[in-house]
């Protein structure tokens, strides 16, 4: 036992002495939370557009003013002939061209009809869609207020109520997502690499012939990372609670227990990866490709899972991060307890045991 403690202490020193890694280890969750909180949002703002006003009368001017008065758009340029449209799109500076047909106000007056054309750069499909919708909405509002005076008959009014997340804050989504990603990274990636390192440097053999039992070696490598990952989780929770006002409706203790469970799961995954790789680069690439991108894209953290093709939904169904995100969201936002998330919890426990079992088996095979 004493020997074991000494070994754990050595591993701790190893990690903490490396100030660059420590800096990044703690900088990473903070930077990520701040980026999600302030930078990456679905809000549209300051989109550059071009206006091709073939009419140049007071109505088109008014509509233009309405468009530019919103925060959404900035006028990049005025276009005066057709060939400039393509040019403007190709230079990549604008996302939308709004074309007013000639004699706009006049036609409106005489025929009661005039046309606006919206050309959106759909090489970014998502933004194009949002931008054109916003433009139409602004034009329609203008039309109703200024041209139609009053409302339609038989109007159905739809009252929207967003449950749980009234301000549609991104925090609800990215805090659990960031937690999953960072914990996965710190636990699985770091463990797999630190064990692969011992193998690569040939020091694993030295450790294996030492009086330490193999189990102790692995435990000793893993314990410091449990601590680090846990502190990271605390940092993320504190930041989201104090800075972004993410609620914790459920029990904090329960949340921390689930977090610990997820960390353990990730660590066993890391051990499993390390048994499959003989050097650090391999361990890193496996972790990176098997963990980072799938965790980001398949856990429902950025893109909703329901929209994905069935095959990917099945794939996503085995992503542990997905379940952890569900658990965290349920606890923090809905205040649920174990009664609601027992299935997900059970799944994580099951995975942990499975990963450990396979690792132990592989480990034994190698020793024989």
């Amino acid at each position: 036992m004493k020997r074991f403690l000494g070994f754990v202490k050595k591993e701790f020193n190893h990690i903490f002495r490396d100030y660059r890694t420590m800096l990044i280890l703690f900088g990473m969750p903070i930077a990520q939370i701040l980026i999600f909180g302030y930078v990456v949002s679905n809000e549209i703002k300051d989109i550059r557009i071009a206006i091709y006003d073939k009419s140049k009368d007071n109505v088109t001017q008014e509509i233009t003013n309405k468009l530019l008065a919103s925060d959404f758009f900035i006028l990049d340029r005025n276009i005066i002939n057709d060939s400039q449209i393509e040019e403007a799109f190709k230079s990549g500076n604008i996302r939308e061209v709004i074309i007013f047909e000639p004699h706009f106000a006049e036609k409106l007056e005489r025929e009661g009809k005039a046309g606006i054309q919206i050309l959106a750069d759909a090489s970014d499909a998502n933004t194009a869609n949002i931008v054109s919708n916003y433009t139409s909405a602004i034009v329609k509002t203008y039309m109703r207020n200024e041209l139609m005076k009053g409302s339609f008959p038989y109007e159905i009014e739809t009252k929207i109520q967003i449950l749980y997340n009234k301000e549609m804050k991104g925090v609800y989504m990215f805090v659990p997502g960031t937690m999953a990603l960072i914990l996965m990274l710190v636990s699985a990636m770091m463990t797999s690499i630190s064990i692969a390192r011992e193998k690569e440097m040939g020091t694993m053999e030295v450790l294996l012939v030492s009086p330490l039992r193999p189990l102790h070696i692995v435990l000793g490598k893993v314990i410091p990372y449990i601590g680090l990952a846990f502190v990271n989780a605390l940092v993320i929770i504190a930041l989201s609670y104090f800075v972004f006002g993410m609620p914790i409706h459920g029990s904090l203790t329960f949340l921390l227990i689930e977090t610990l469970l997820f960390i353990l799961m990730a660590l066993s995954l890391g051990i499993l990866i390390s048994t499959a790789s003989n050097n650090q680069m391999v361990a890193m690439f496996i972790s990176m490709f098997a963990l980072m991108l799938p965790t980001m894209l398949l856990s429902g953290f950025i893109f909703p899972i329901e929209n994905m093709p069935k095959v990917l939904q099945w794939l996503s169904a085995i992503m542990p991060a997905k379940y952890f995100i569900i658990i965290v969201k349920n606890i923090m936002i809905k205040g649920s307890g174990i009664a609601v998330v027992w299935k997900e919890t059970l799944y994580l426990i099951g995975l942990t045991i499975l990963f450990l079992a396979i690792s132990v088996k592989k480990f034994k095979v190698r020793l024989e």
């Binding site: 990456v40 809000e43 990549g92 090489s123 041209l147 109007e155 009014e157 549609m168 609800y172 680069m281």
Partner: protein
């Protein structure tokens, strides 16, 4: 010059000899590309709708039928109790509740207006936004039809004085894959080249072989070129491979010049590989390299505009993007591939990266010491 060839030869042998590395470089990223492109979609395909129709009139039934008929909605259940409906949301069985109160039809006909309610699970903000927009458009469509039916007025469209016609250029079907594939390809190419360069050199440090090289009369620049070129070639190959897959399986339009794209990629790789080299001079273990690179990758990817438009970001973030190589490449690869932009259109990005790459390479060369 000949010395460089010997280094290239050695690097290639080492890469191709490692049986576990090969699939990591060429197989896994491509699988990722194929799989993840499908994942990155914001189209809502099946919204679980829970119906609480307390009116049970002919109009309310028509509205429910309209939702049922839409390919985007699946009716997950019905009842007359809002509490019951809320429970369904809480258990993730439903995404949205349509609540039609008693007297809906009556009010509409008698009082000229009526009210219904949509309750949306807001936990996933992105999805909630989309569900909101989809549902509103179904309802307003329904509304227009009713007005036409009840008033015998001409078509709704003709009542609106300004007609708006939207066309989506370069991607008329708003295909997300066309958009995401180049973005994900950029990430994969960068991961491979950045990590391989940085880890390769630090690996030599860890194994002690770098010392053996440092006692030889080889020049710094020979060594650095020898180290950068292999990964540049691998990365270009990766890009070509990914583009071919995109073309064949996803029918990604390649409107612009492929030569221009590869030329630009070369400059981009200069930046990325020099960054890798620079990181390797800062780190003494592969674990550190991985961590440092990972940190910058994550920040840079999220800020690159792959998911959200960069111009909507706060000003400080846009300033940070000046040093974000992803930001330039993400823009340019989409411009060339999808819009057919020419050299003149991307010249600003081209020269920015060229300057950036030169600075990084000099910095890295300066930091790389043969002597301690």
């Amino acid at each position: 010059m000949k010395k460089i060839l010997y280094i290239l030869q050695k690097e290639f042998i080492q890469v191709f000899r490692n049986k576990t590395m090969l699939p990591m470089i060429f197989g896994v990223p491509i699988i990722q590309l194929v799989v993840l492109v499908h994942a990155a979609t914001l189209e809502m395909k099946s919204i679980d709708l829970y119906i609480v129709d307390k009116d049970l009139s002919s109009l309310s039934t028509k509205l429910v039928n309209k939702f049922e008929g839409s390919p985007f909605y699946t009716i997950s259940g019905r009842s007359f109790s809002i509490d019951q409906a809320n429970k369904e949301i809480e258990n993730n069985k439903a995404d949205v509740i349509l609540h039609i109160p008693n007297g809906f039809e009556h009010n509409l006909i008698r009082n000229n207006s009526s009210e219904i309610q949509l309750l949306i699970d807001g936990i996933n903000g992105t999805a909630a936004n989309l569900i909101n927009a989809y549902s509103i458009s179904v309802i307003s469509d329904f509304n227009k039809n009713i007005i036409v039916d009840l008033t015998q007025m001409p078509k709704m469209a003709e009542m609106e004085p300004i007609s708006i016609q939207t066309s989506f250029w370069y991607n008329p079907e708003l295909n997300y894959k066309t958009y995401m594939l180049p973005g994900i390809l950029v990430i994969l190419v960068t991961i491979i080249s950045l990590f391989m360069t940085a880890m390769n050199i630090v690996r030599e440090k860890e194994m002690g072989t770098i010392e053996q090289i440092n006692v030889t009369p080889i020049r710094k620049y020979e060594f650095i070129i020898g180290k950068l070129v292999p990964f540049m070639i691998i990365a270009l190959f990766e890009l070509a491979f990914g583009l071919t897959i995109g073309k064949i399986f996803f029918h990604i339009p390649i409107v612009g010049s492929v030569g221009l794209l590869f030329g630009f990629t070369l400059v981009y790789l200069l930046v990325v590989l020099s960054l890798g080299l620079f990181i390797s001079t800062l780190a003494s273990t592969q674990q550190q390299v991985m961590f440092i690179s990972f940190f910058f990758m994550l920040v840079f990817i999220l800020m690159s505009g792959i998911f959200t438009p960069t111009e909507s970001m706060p000003l400080w973030a846009q300033r940070v993007n000046i040093i974000n190589p992803f930001y330039y490449y993400m823009r340019v690869i989409r411009m060339i591939l999808l819009k057919g932009s020419e050299f003149w259109d991307i010249s600003r990005e081209f020269f920015s990266l060229l300057i950036y790459g030169t600075i990084m390479l000099s910095l890295a060369t300066w930091r790389y010491r043969k002597v301690a």
